[in-house]
Amino acid sequence: MRVYWQILRNEFQTLFRAKWVLGYGLIFLLLTDTLFRFSGGGTEVWVSVSNIMLLLIPIISLIYGILYIYQSRDYLELLLTQPVNRSTLFWGLYTGISAPLTVAFIIGSALPIGWHGGLASGSASQLFFVLALGSLLTFIFVGLGFVMGLYFYDDKIKGFGFSIVIWLFMAVIYDGLIMVIIFMFGDYSLETSVIFITMLNPMDIARILILMEFDISALMGYSGAVFNRFFGSNLGILVSGGMLVLWLAVPSWVGLRIFNRKDF
């Protein structure tokens, strides 16, 4: 446990010294601040923050996860020659990178509340929800970045290429495909299958959970109603939460497995 904390502490130090994590936090700070100025601090602020967050967090976390593996090869080797368990090292590095990113995001998004006269009534739970979801996405995509970096350890171009494709696929193409399916099979009742397909994409799960939390599913007509019936139910929340946890667990487990068997 001591070894884990040492690694974690060192990651925090290194990352915050590199300053760009501060820049990352600053983006969210400016964003929230601007939104507060324009829309007065109600629900709109958090809906907008979550929209940006859904695109930004996955790509930044993914790229940073993979970049970290590529940049720290010598550092990894140094640590692996010490009397340190590989699994401990993996968890130390993984949480040591995800946590500072999460902290930067949370502080950046929440700080402007301070000088904009606090939270509007009723948005405390919304704020908490957005921050929790963003944190979860950070850990999920740093994990995916680790997997890509470790799998394509000697082929950086491939590693980066596939990472960007993964992001593009989840953020944009996936929804396009769903649209195509809906368009092609429009004559059938597709809602249940669409819910199922949506469940396979962590960015979609997050997006829908936000729609539910902010009660804007009504904008989506009949589908929205079906979504609302499912995702709004306890079962739906349980299943989608479970899927997100699975998205958290599987990449980090795969990453750990590769890391434990790897030749450095």
């Binding site: 040492q6 010294r17 010598d74 550092y75 692996l80 010490q82 009397p83 790897k262 030749d263």
Partner: protein, 235 residues
């Protein structure tokens, strides 16, 4: 002591270690020589657990390697290329590794003095010269006073003065009874530092024994000549 039985390792289709057997008693200083790509670094990395062997046994100081890690407490390793986290300050790196291991770095001050690292201690590793990074690597390897030392081409980036200081230090470690493995392409250097030599060719040990005996066998005056002769011989 280090004992290896039938150690095999392949990277993809390329068989790097082809069933090595080796027995290095405690307190012996051994040079590892062979052409580039012969498997010297892979051998050392396998002993460290950085590379996982395909088959065979490794026993280090009576501990059989099976993915365990605590045996590394007894090993100091200086890699071929010393590259460290760039933003870190030298003194931070040293104390970070100290904290990580939870061991007392008994020789830390002494090594910093010997290698004249004091002026570098508060610099970021990013701006250190290659030679000074090597010295940091040597300090990291030896400061915990481990009983086994691995040096992978240790003097490759050092200026003559640092190289001299480094070799002096190695002599001291040898007198102190450390088990040492040193890879190098500089034969004259190995003659100064070690008594035994392992000659590796294409993943197999072609010779392992005393340097004196090797010279006698090949009727050569110098190690360089003897090794060159062995390299020429058809496998």
């Amino acid at each position: 002591m280090i004992r290896i039985n039938n150690l095999k390792k392949a990277f993809g289709p390329h068989q790097v270690l082809k069933g090595m057997d080796l027995n290095i008693p405690a307190g012996q200083a051994t040079g590892v020589v062979g052409p580039n790509g012969a498997g010297k670094t892979t051998l050392i990395k396998t002993l460290l657990g950085l590379v996982k062997s395909d088959s065979g046994d490794i026993i280090i100081n009576n501990i059989q390697l099976n993915g365990n890690y605590d045996y590394r407490r007894q090993i100091g390793y200086m890699p071929q290329q010393a590259r460290y986290p760039e933003q870190m300050i030298v003194s931070e790196l040293l104390s970070f590794i100290e904290d990580l291991r939870g061991d007392e770095a008994v020789f830390k001050e002494q090594l910093i003095k010997e290698f004249n690292l004091e002026p570098e201690l508060h610099k970021q590793l990013r701006i250190l010269s290659g030679g000074n990074k090597q010295k940091v690597g040597a300090t990291l390897a030896m400061m915990f006073n481990p009983s086994i030392l691995f040096f992978d081409e240790p003097t490759a980036g050092l200026d003559p003065r640092s190289s001299f200081i480094f070799k002096e230090r190695i002599q001291k470690e040898k007198v102190a009874g450390k088990t040492m493995l040193i890879t190098s392409h500089i034969m004259s250097e190995l003659e100064q530092l070690v008594d035994h030599v392992i000659f590796i060719l294409e993943g197999e040990i072609k010779y392992y024994g005393r340097i004196d005996d090797l010279l006698k066998e090949n009727r050569q005056e110098r190690l360089e000549g003897a090794i060159a002769k062995m390299m020429e011989e058809p496998a």
